[in-house]
């Protein structure tokens, strides 16, 4: 519930002003029935230009969810910034069901107070009381995403994921000697920051459950190592450099352990590493490939890829008993599974007729649905509200990121301005 005056101090982490988006969003398909909403440019009584157009960011967020249709600014008959100035019949005329209005006010301490209100055109009443956020000029985008989250939650009943971030890897420059960059950006691709840069490959970035730490694989001296790194400070720790594979790190839901893949005992097996005690525990024991572990949301199971049945398929490992059972049966192969936060579905990369697509499997009914029709899909990662899957694919000969909703209806691409993009990892909610 929003209180009348709500003050939020945004974690500024390492993110500074740059509003340049490296990844540009192209929406390719949306839901059948879109909810019409008008996001009116926010009123500002101060001088000069504001650092960001808050209303535009909110509008873009809502459109990107694939559930909303925005009333173009050019069609608006008026641009009210407080409810008293709103003529509801104007908005009914424009067939807008909801209106978001707001104000920006400069405070004496250099901060800005951003107030907003969501209005229901049919009932002619605010959906919620007026609320506001105080932010520094560099956090305007955070404020806008916060408002988008609130609007989304009020109108859909489920939590928004606009304030989240994505990790990804780019390979830039000469393709035969590229520079690899591990980057973090807002979920809309804005404010990219380079975390690590290397001439050797970087892959498999993953978030800790509180969003403060990341783990990734980076080659050094032509061998793969696993690192964990605190985002805010850049403090980094090498946690695995065994002989052979060191790969696929995945944080446990309680943040205490990492699942990872090592081949130090001959062939790829799933292990868990207790981060505090450094205790390593072998979880699988099979001569086949066992890799790509991912924890179930309750931490009781680990789903992973294994070719023990002849072709790569998804299996589930019970963490306590270490008992293994097969999960996927449809498709030539299924790899790199991730489970939705409610535990209901898994997404996998499914191979059929030589194509690799993101597939969704209902864990209760076993029903499988192919979500994408893009080319050479890999690395699916699910938004913390379970609504969307970000994945890597190949488009016009380049590695790009793309997003598909769990129901398969909403699709958009996030191509990069330069180089190939791959290995997306959607952050959890930030506390």
């Amino acid at each position: 519930m929003l209180k009348k005056w709500l003050y939020i101090t945004f974690m500024s982490l390492l993110f500074t002003a740059s509003a340049k988006a490296q990844l540009v969003i192209e929406i390719t398909s949306g839901a059948d029935q879109l909810l019409p909403i008008a996001v009116v440019p926010f009123g500002y009584d101060g001088l000069g230009a504001l650092p960001e157009d808050v209303a535009q960011i909110i509008e873009d967020d809502l459109k990107r969810s694939g559930l909303f249709q925005a009333i173009p600014r050019g069609n608006m008959l008026s641009m009210p910034s407080k409810e008293a100035d709103v003529f509801y019949r104007d908005w009914r005329l424009l067939k807008s069901d909801y209106v978001v209005i707001g104000t920006v006010k400069k405070l004496t301490n250099g901060q800005y107070r951003i107030g907003f209100e969501l209005l229901n055109v049919l009932s002619q009443k605010p959906v919620e009381k007026h609320a506001s956020i105080d932010v520094s000029p560099t956090n305007f985008r955070d404020a806008a995403h916060y408002i988008s989250d609130k609007v989304y939650e009020l109108l859909t009943g489920s939590r928004g994921a606009f304030s989240t971030r994505i990790l990804y890897v780019t390979a830039e420059g000469d393709r035969s000697a590229p520079t690899f960059k591990l980057q973090v950006a807002d979920a809309d691709g804005h404010r990219p920051q380079v975390i690590v840069e290397s001439k050797e490959p970087i892959l498999s970035p993953s978030w800790s459950q509180d969003g403060r730490n990341i783990a990734y694989v980076m080659f050094r001296n032509r061998r793969p190592n696993i690192f964990i790194q605190e985002l805010a400070t850049g403090k980094r720790q090498k946690i695995a450099q065994f002989r052979g594979l060191n790969g696929a790190p995945a944080w446990s839901p309680d943040g205490k352990k990492l699942a990872l893949v090592l081949s130090k005992d001959n062939n790829p097996e799933v292990y868990t590493l207790d981060i505090a005690t450094q205790k390593l525990e072998r979880m699988t024991n099979h001569y086949a490939i066992d890799t790509e572990p991912s924890w179930e949301p309750d931490g009781k199971g680990i789903i992973f890829t294994s070719d023990r049945g002849g072709s790569p398929q998804i299996y589930r490992l019970d963490v306590r008993s270490k008992r293994v059972e097969r999960v996927t049966f449809e498709g030539v192969s299924n790899t790199r599974a991730r489970m939705t936060p409610d535990g209901r579905y898994i997404v996998t990369i499914q191979k059929n007729d030589g194509n690799y697509h993101v597939a969704l499997q209902d864990m209760k009914t076993g029903r499988v649905q192919t979500l994408t029709e893009t080319y050479l899909d890999e690395s699916p990662s699910i938004a913390p509200n379970g609504s969307m899957v970000i994945y890597a694919t190949t488009y016009e000969g380049k590695g790009i990121l793309a997003v598909v909703s769990v129901d398969g209806l909403v699709k958009y691409r996030l191509p990069s301005a330069d180089g190939d993009v791959r290995e997306p990892s959607w952050s959890p909610y930030f506390k």
Partner: protein, 194 residues
Amino acid sequence: MSVNKLGKFAVIGLSAAVIAGCSTTATDTDTSTTAEDATSTEQADTTASSDASFGAGEESAPTSVIVEDTASTEEVVDKMASLAGVATVFYFDFDKSIVRPESREALAKHAQYLVANPEARVTLEGHADERGTREYNMALGERRAKAVSRYLTIQGVAASQIESVSFGEEVPVAFSHDDNAWQLNRRVEVRYEK
């Protein structure tokens, strides 16, 4: 391993450790960007180098493809003369890790060389094409490197002379998205420690 070589290991290992130490312990509060390539760029200019903690030879440019051996000293050239013109890249079928019949002759020559020079060390670098998921391909690349490793050990090469490493699909040599490129990328590269 000669004393002379040990000395080289120690010196380069130390400098690498210093550089690595700087980057791993640096905690810059403005940004957490860490330049990672300092070590490898430096090492790219030295013909022989190794990070002490890995204990195996390496050449730095991670994406270069060895088609022919580039020997660094005359001594090495003499020793490796028996390998002149012998293939160092071996190809595999899709999703397979079986050494192809046409690879056997060249691999036998590598085995002979390694048996005759028990101090020689070799790294087998396995690679996969871009299809399929990245960590699975890491495992697949390793499986290929190990298939070659087994082929060598069966012919008498000591396991301690061989290290298998996988790059998965991360370091392709051909960049189009077709059968031809995929075939070139499904490979194991034989690299001698210099």
